[in-house]
């Protein structure tokens, strides 16, 4: 074999609303019997503002692999960032780069593998007058910083009777206190049968991962650590299938930049589910779950003793204890008769409770003790005769949500919502030349406040989309879509809506498909967005905001086995707003 070459390049330019986006992507693969080389280069630049300023990022990654059985490889990655080029004040411009290069050797077989890597990491910053340091009270970094890099990783896969996998990795820097990049991790998994006859499956997993990063390029100085264990058991019993999972986890995050609070999370979760057939062609599914989590906050030290004492006291008051209880019941019936009919009934209930056990006397500024209870009942009807993708032919959902603040200092804000939703989706193919579809929806919401009997709000929304394609399935001539929706919002008086604002939107769209030859096609398009908002003055409806946006243009697409060119040019007429040209050019080539 002589090896192979595969290379692709793609260039994209977009012009929208006074902003130009330039993107490129270059991928090269060159492989011989002795070695292979991969290169990936991408960039994204924005050109915007008055006067226009250029900002963006590039990323280059190259990898070289000596013959696979030799175990030697090398890689180099380069990040580059430039901001504020061509700014009216030159000192606003900034740029920075970060690069890593490593040489890696690995050995092993199908059961185990290990690898070692050695290399270097360097960052360079050339800050501008608006640049920031990692900490807000520190000046931005300037100049070059570097350190050595080492890494080790190993995996072992064994035992055909009880499949097991163990993997670990560790990488860190050598020298360079201003740069930090360390990651250590472990994961193990084993799968077995408890009953011994292979009908059931139990899987145990443990994992731990700790990361420490300080980088002027990314403006990070933080540490994150997670560890956890999880067990899941799948057991068929008769016609029913039982599934039980449980896990414990701990997560710690610390931000040394002083911008965000640190957080320690401890949690445990269990879930039990059963599903299977019932009599008369019915199927059922029940899933019960419970989650408990403790969250302890830790404010970043400020260096001021008094401020830090106050922050620590606030952190103690903010300590959260969260429990969540969920139950989902589904009952479904489906038949192949009558051109495929199906009905599903779903009930889901949940209660999320948030408590602050360290805060016996909360004040308004403290995190509130809260119970959020949700109940949702859905009825779905499907018919294969008029099915539009996966969408249900008809559905009705009713839900209630109660958000209760338990303590006197917050309980005034306790509120609840009743909501009903209807949806209809129909697709009715006509012969082989037209595929019209219709989607209609309606939603009503009623909000009320437990301790404010006079305060009730409502929202009523309904809309429809009618459209479809005309022409053969593989070569349509045109697609047309007409959408309209209306939203009424305001108060609820007695049991009735008393809207004080109506939003009315019309959105027709049309697109034509003209095929000049096998590789070239032309698509003229147009869409209109019309929005009106009316407000009730107490005596009559007053016309508020009106908005009209018309976009028209054409796309030209040329595609061949090796390359493609797509050009889109259009014009936007906005009222209010400014008229503008929009355009997009995308070119790709593979060789």
């Amino acid at each position: 074999m002589d090896g192979f070459d595969s290379s692709r390049v793609q260039l994209v330019a977009d012009r929208q609303q006074g902003r130009t986006l330039l993107r490129h992507r270059l991928a090269l693969v060159r492989a011989t019997d002795a070695w292979s080389l991969r290169v990936l280069d991408t960039s994204l630049f924005r050109y915007a503002g008055t006067p226009s300023v250029l900002s963006g990022e590039t990323f280059l990654q190259t990898g070289w692999l000596q013959r696979p059985d030799s175990g030697w490889s090398a890689s180099w990655r380069l990040w580059n960032r430039a901001d504020g080029l061509n700014a009216p004040v030159a000192s606003l411009g900034e740029n920075a780069w970060r690069q890593t290069g490593v040489l890696r050797g690995s050995l092993g077989d199908s059961a185990w593998a290990t690898s070692f890597a050695l290399g270097g990491l360097a960052e360079r910053s050339d800050p501008g007058s608006a640049s920031q340091g990692i900490r807000s009270d520190e000046p931005p970094a300037r100049g070059v910083r570097g350190a050595g890099v080492w890494a080790w990783e190993g995996t072992w896969v064994g035992f055909s009777e009880t499949p097991t996998r163990v993997a670990a990795h560790w990488n860190d820097l050598l020298g360079g206190s201003e740069l930090r990049q360390a990651n250590i991790g472990f994961e193990g998994a084993v799968q077995a049968s408890l009953t011994g006859n292979d009908r059931d499956t139990i899987r145990l997993e443990v994992s731990a991962d700790s990361t420490r990063v300080r980088s002027d390029y990314f403006l990070f100085d933080r540490a994150d650590a997670q560890r956890g264990a999880r067990a899941s058991w799948f057991l068929p019993a008769g016609k029913q299938s039982w599934n039980a999972t449980g896990g414990v986890w701990k997560g710690v995050s610390r931000d040394f930049s002083g911008r965000n609070s640190g957080l320690t999370k401890n949690g445990i979760d269990v879930s039990v589910g059963v599903e299977g057939p019932l009599a008369w062609g019915l199927r059922h599914s029940q899933i019960f779950g419970r989650i408990e989590e403790d969250r302890v906050w830790k404010s970043a030290p400020s260096g001021n003793l008094l401020v830090d004492e106050m922050s620590a006291a606030q952190d103690r008051r903010d300590r959260d204890r969260i429990t969540e209880l969920t139950l989902s019941d589904t009952l479904a019936w489906r038949t192949g008769n009558w051109r495929g009919l199906g009905v599903a009934l779903g009930l889901s209930q949940s209660l999320r409770s948030i408590r602050h056990p360290s805060n016996s006397s909360p004040v308004p500024a403290d995190r509130p003790d809260e119970d959020i209870a949700r109940k949702q009942l859905s009825v779905l009807f499907k018919s294969d005769a008029v099915l539009w993708g996966d969408r249900p032919t008809f559905s009705w959902t009713t839900m209630t949500q109660e958000d209760v603040y338990l303590r006197a200092v917050h309980s005034f804000n306790s509120w609840s919502r009743d909501e009903n939703r209807l949806a209809l989706n129909l697709a009715v193919p006509i012969a082989e030349v037209a595929r019209p579809n219709l989607a209609g929806w309606a939603r009503e919401q009623r909000d009320s406040w437990r301790f404010q009997p006079g305060k009730r709000k409502g929202r009523l929304e309904f809309g429809a989309t009618l459209g479809g394609e005309i022409g053969p399935v593989d070569a349509p001539w045109a697609s047309v879509q007409w959408t309209r929706w209306q939203v009424k919002s305001g108060a609820v008086v007695g049991g009735s809506f008393a809207p004080d604002q109506i939003q009315d939107v019309w959105n027709p769209e049309v697109r034509g498909f003209v095929r000049c030859n096998e590789s070239l096609r032309f698509e003229p398009w147009s869409n209109l967005y019309l929005e009106r908002v009316e407000s009730w003055t107490g005596k009559n409806w007053s016309m508020g905001m009106r908005s009209r946006v018309l976009r028209s243009g054409a796309d030209m697409v040329s595609e061949s086995r090796q390359g493609g060119l797509a050009l889109s040019v259009g014009h936007v007429w906005s009222n209010p707003g400014e008229d503008a040209w929009i355009g997009s050019l995308s070119a790709r080539y593979a060789w």
């Binding site: 019993a237 019932l278 019941d329 209660l351 119970d371 209870a373 437990r450 003055t537």
Partner: protein, 176 residues
């Protein structure tokens, strides 16, 4: 024999029907002094909430639905907002221990000719009864605005000239 699957399917809805609902929220404590600002969504809400502020003697609710530059005027004479608010608080709401019931009655009629989208002028025939006697009554022209404010607010209360027993006469008398 009852199967596990039937128990699993039937028990949750039966629990709900029996009133045993593990998903119900806890009962909250009664609210302490904390309150949320009332936002008048329509000009008519201003009249309703202002009346509510009289009946509940709530100066904060009064402040929610009145503008910072509210003036009380009649026949070219006027009371500044501070004097107007002082009159309402001290003379009508009364001091601590004054428990006489206050009743607000009003008919609200927007004036179409003088109203634009965010400023509404309305004629209000009002009466304020404190205890057993109706002391204050009259016809006022209100200007209600939604310009740069959170909701509609009363920005001008003009007692018409025929209102000899109106709020202006009451407050002006108190001032003198």
């Amino acid at each position: 024999m009852v199967s596990w699957s039937k128990i699993v399917v039937l028990v949750p809805p039966l629990l709900v029907l029996a009133g045993c609902d593990p998903f119900a929220p806890s009962n909250p404590e009664s609210p302490s002094n904390t309150r949320e600002a009332v936002v008048a969504g329509t000009p008519a809400d201003v009249e309703r909430e202002l009346g509510h502020s009289f009946t509940t003697r709530d100066p904060l609710l009064w402040g929610d639905v009145t503008g910072e530059t509210l003036r009380l005027v009649q026949s070219g004479d006027s009371l500044a907002n501070s004097a107007f608010l002082k009159c309402v608080q001290n003379e009508i709401f009364g001091a601590t221990g004054d428990t006489a019931a206050i009743v607000w009655k009003a008919t609200y009629a927007p004036d179409a000719g003088a109203s634009v989208a965010d400023v509404v002028v309305a004629k209000v025939d009002y009466s304020i009864t404190k205890g057993s006697a109706t002391k204050i009554f009259g016809v006022a022209r209100w200007t209600i605005s939604d310009v740069n404010t959170l909701g509609w607010e009363l920005v001008r209360w003009e007692d018409l000239s025929e209102s000899k027993s109106g709020l202006f006469a009451y407050c002006k008398g108190g001032e003198n």
